[in-house]
Structure formats: structure tokens, C-alpha cells
Symmetry: C2
Subunit: 294 residues, 2 copies
DNA sequence: ACAAAAGTGTTCGTCTTACACCCATGC
DNA sequence: GCATGGGTGTAAGACGAACACTTTTGT
């Protein structure tokens, strides 16, 4: 039972939604997620991450949640790198530090955005997956469950879909060090397994918004129903049924009217709402619900 | 950006269900969860845990899932201990290694078992919590949501309830190093924050069985509907409505008849079922549902 | 015969989904 | 007037919970 020398690193999936666009904070021109070494004066992992991100972005972090921990074995050494990844919600800050940029997460996962139709899916991805499946009934079945069927698309399977595509050799990260450079799918590449970590964060957030009122961390203090809906849609990558969305939100008494209205835009002025702070506690114990597509 | 010296430790919440009793593997006479140092020859954390538990219990591990990672700051040192906790499902093995024992998890959390009535809750816990709440409406409200109300008890809030009791000073672990030794609640103590880790594992498992068919990791190859139901009840700490339970399970086509029957017991012989292996994949993507109480 | 457990049918009410429609503003 | 977005009512249907009842064994 030898005692191992280990380094601990924090990796953040920091999400904001701006203009109906779900974005992550990246470094190295979008090629990496921000990460940093755990420092000895941090009392806990969470405070360590918080301090570190706030120093970088000059913006207070809202919700923070641990995602996953994994260990890389450093070749040749008896040393090891433990990476602890976090999901954090924020709003896009004016002053991000140099070299950092907010990038739409759908640039890394174009197939996860179904709001503008599913042409990419049907014309590019499905055909290539089908050839990879070949005669294997098992592969076809799993493919059907992950990707198929317009109706009953499960938005939470981001990671599973990524790993399926990875296994099918359609993800550049999977091909590193291999000669077979099969043409990759549309979608930006990332260093190491950062794209996998991002997929984990997306999946977690898509699941989370359905039973905890974390969306409000992504919105301004007051907002219209449409803004709220479009934020949800940006995260889910799907359109929602407007009338039912309104009802669901109001029924749950998550929000209250501010008394103000929007103006100057097309259409009838919309009521402005604010989040009822008293429900932060409550809802975390019961659950928030969403209507299904369109 | 100083590089920190870190040790990594694995902690397991290893669960089995035997005779309608949900149990965890413990060491030190039930005072600690099994844990071990991460060794350099483990390729990943998961395989490290797997190898380590299988060596200890001589039983193959079924389902394994990461729970949470936290860091202790070692006083006086510039050194740090990173603990990575796991939930693992197994069946009780004949040969566990010396000093290890399976203990019902309700011995640590008696209030989480509502199958034999809720006398403890009503007679001991609620009165003491009420005095602690005093006039604070906020505390009372939160208490009501976590503990109250017979009807609409949420079985997944194991950790939240533990932390509420912790905050109320009713958990011995909270009082260490303090003079005020208020009489603690029934329920075994554990070292460090192992009881909190166990609570995390219980909560995760109670949530998991509702949307992934992991229960089958805990059962023999063939089983009756009643055995399946009692296993679920042991985990949930609640009784389920028998006729509806049957229907829900059969409707979902999770199981198939083996053709065999039980015999020798009281009552009408029961059909034996086996889990349909083909659904391991499927269900992990859709979901399993359960009826509510009694 | 009776207790104990297995197993089935059906009703009632709620929640989800979808459709249809009216309202208020800018151009 | 008409396009755009805001907002409400309601009916069809799926699903969950509860109740009543029949069947098959051991003692």
C-alpha cells in the first residue's frame, strides 16, 4: 500500500445564457475549459473553485455543483493527476480576463440543438452512424434510442450520445494517435477530455433545470415569460409549448409580477416577473416541472 | 500557484439487501466505511475501487457510481487529503474479510425507515426539533418540508434531513469537541463524516432505483414479485401498494417469467421471474417507475 | 374451513398535451 | 390592417392511486 504522489486540479464548466444562446467560458481560443491547481489555502474544493473563478471573471458565481472526479495516470511517473470538475452558473460578465471567451456550447455539440430543425442529424449524422452500425442489431437499437425518433428525443443523454459517436470514430478526440483520420463531424474539438466534461455538464444542467429552480441564476433580476422560456429552450436545445409553459411556471408560484412592463418591442408589452426568493428553499425539495416539446 | 502535495483516498458505500434489510459494508465494528489509498497501478479510479473492494469481499461488484469528492485540509501541513466516495451495489458475500461486517443502514438512520410506523419520528424527533425551531418560522417551514406530513414524505431527502438534524445539534458528530453534550438521537455514530457519506449514498440510491433498473444488482438471478417489492421497500424505507407494484413492473417489461414457482411457504406459490438482460441498455435511457406508498 | 399470499379488473381523479381562440401594441 | 408577441379556456387522453374481488396453496 504505497502512498502515491498526487496533484489535484479543478476544471470548471461555467455556463451563461445570453440572447437565447447557452455559452461556456473557455480558454485557449475555445480549445480548453478553464482549470487551475488546487491551492493549499482553500478551505474546501468548492470555495477553491469559487475563489478561482471569481478572480478570473470578476463576477460572483451563482450555483456551483460538483460533476465528476477522474484520475490520469502520468506516464513514466509514480505520480497522478486528479481532476475534479464542476458545473457553475453565472451571467456573462463584461470583463472576462484575457484569453477567455464565451462560446456557444452547441458549437461543440451541434447535434444537441434541435431548435432550428434536425437537418444535420438526418443528413449527416444518422447516415454515417448507420454505416458504422452495419448489421449489428445491438448497435442499431442503441442508436435508435439515443438519436432516433423525432418524438421522444431525450435531451439529457448528451454524454451517452457523445460516447456513442466517440465509439463510432466520428469524434476527432477519439482518433488521436491513429492513422485513420476519418472525416470528423461538425463540432469543435477540445483538448484532453474537456469535451466529455462539457457533455457531462450539459447533461447535468438539462436534468437539473427540470427539478430545481436553477435557471434563475442565469437570468437578470426581472424578466419576461418569453425570456425565461427562451433560456430554458437554449439549455434544453428544444422548443417548448408556450401556453403550457406559462401555466406551468405560474402554477408553481416560482415567480411574481413586478408590476412593470416591457415596451418598445414588437407585439404587446409583456409583464415583467421576478423570482420569488422564498422558493429557493422550497423548490429544492419538491421539484419544478416542464412541458414537453413545441 | 504553489503545487500542493495531496493524498487520494477511496471510500465505498457498498450496499446489499438481505431479507428485506438494506445493509452497508462497514469496518471497525460498524464505526467506519471501508476505505483505502489509491494505488499507482490502478488505471482509473473506478477500476481502483473495484479491484480493492473485490479483494476485500471476494465478490464481484455490480453497479458502481461515483458519489462525491471532498478535501480535508490537514492541520499544520501544506498537505491535503482528497477523498473520493463511491456507491456500489453487491450481494452479501459469505466470506467477508475480518473486521468487516454488514450493518443495516437504518441503524445509522432509524428515522429513514417508515415501514414499521413512525413512532420514533413523532415521539422523539419532531418534539425535539420543534423546541429547537423555537419561534423561527423559517426553521419550522423547512422542518415541515423535510420531516412532516405523513403523506408526501420525500424519501430522497436523506442527506438534507441529516444536515438539518446536524444543524439542530441532535447528531453526535456535530458535537465533537464541544462541551454541550446534548443527548443524541437514536442512530449509530460513525467516524469523520462517514455518516454523511452514507446519507449521500442512500439518497442517490433511492433516487436511482426510480429511473434505472439497478435493483436487479441486489437480487438473486430469479426472484418473486414479493422479493422484488420488499427489496425496493427496504431501500425506500416505505411500503408499496402491492397490486399496483406488480402492474407497474410487468407493464414495463423489465422481467420475464422463468416458468418456475416457489413452494413450501405459506400461501399460494409465486411465479419466479428473471430480469430481462436486454433492457439493461434500454431502461438506462428511459426510466423505471414506482407506485407510491402502501 | 381458514389464513396467507398471489394475482386481476375496474373506477375515479389528476395531471399532460394539444388545440382554439382573444388581446394589445408597433408599423 | 396585419404582423408579432402576450395571454386564457378547455377538452381529450394518459397515468396514478385506490378499492374490490378471485385464485391457489399450507395447516
Amino acid at each position: 500500500m504505497s502512498i502515491d504522489s498526487v496533484q489535484a486540479e479543478l476544471i470548471a464548466v461555467l455556463v451563461a445564457v445570453t440572447n437565447g444562446d447557452a455559452r461556456v467560458l473557455t480558454v485557449e481560443s475555445g480549445f480548453a475549459l478553464p482549470s487551475g491547481q488546487l491551492e493549499p489555502d482553500h478551505r474546501s474544493l468548492q470555495t477553491g473553485l469559487r475563489a478561482w473563478v471569481e478572480r478570473q471573471t470578476h463576477h460572483p458565481l451563482g450555483y456551483v455543483e460538483q460533476l465528476y472526479t477522474f484520475a490520469d495516470q502520468l506516464r513514466g511517473h509514480h505520480s497522478r493527476n486528479v481532476s475534479i470538475s464542476y458545473l457553475a452558473l453565472s451571467r456573462e460578465a463584461a470583463s472576462t480576463y484575457p484569453d477567455a471567451s464565451w462560446v456557444s456550447w452547441y458549437r461543440y455539440f451541434p447535434w444537441e440543438d434541435r431548435r432550428q430543425g434536425i437537418g444535420l442529424m438526418q443528413n449527416v449524422i444518422l447516415p454515417r452512424l448507420l454505416t458504422w452500425c452495419g448489421a449489428s442489431a445491438e448497435r442499431r437499437q442503441r442508436m435508435g434510442r439515443l438519436f432516433g425518433d423525432e418524438r421522444r428525443w431525450n435531451d439529457e443523454l448528451v454524454l451517452e450520445r457523445y460516447e456513442f459517436l466517440f465509439g463510432a470514430g466520428l469524434i476527432p478526440e477519439a482518433l488521436r494517435g491513429q492513422a485513420t483520420a476519418a472525416a470528423a463531424l461538425p463540432g469543435l474539438e477540445m483538448t484532453h477530455d474537456h469535451r466529455r466534461i462539457l457533455a457531462t455538464g450539459m447533461a447535468r444542467l438539462r436534468a437539473k433545470i427540470k427539478y430545481r429552480p436553477v435557471v434563475f441564476e442565469l437570468l437578470a433580476k426581472s424578466f419576461t415569460m418569453l425570456e425565461l422560456q427562451q433560456t430554458m429552450e437554449a439549455l434544453a436545445g428544444q422548443e417548448l409549448h408556450k401556453p403550457n409553459f406559462r401555466r406551468l411556471i405560474t402554477q408553481q408560484e416560482l415567480v411574481e409580477e413586478t408590476g412593470e412592463f416591457t415596451s418598445g418591442l414588437a407585439g404587446r408589452p409583456a409583464k415583467l416577473f421576478r423570482f420569488r426568493p422564498s422558493v429557493i428553499e422550497e423548490r429544492s425539495l419538491s421539484g419544478t416541472k416542464l412541458p414537453l416539446v413545441k
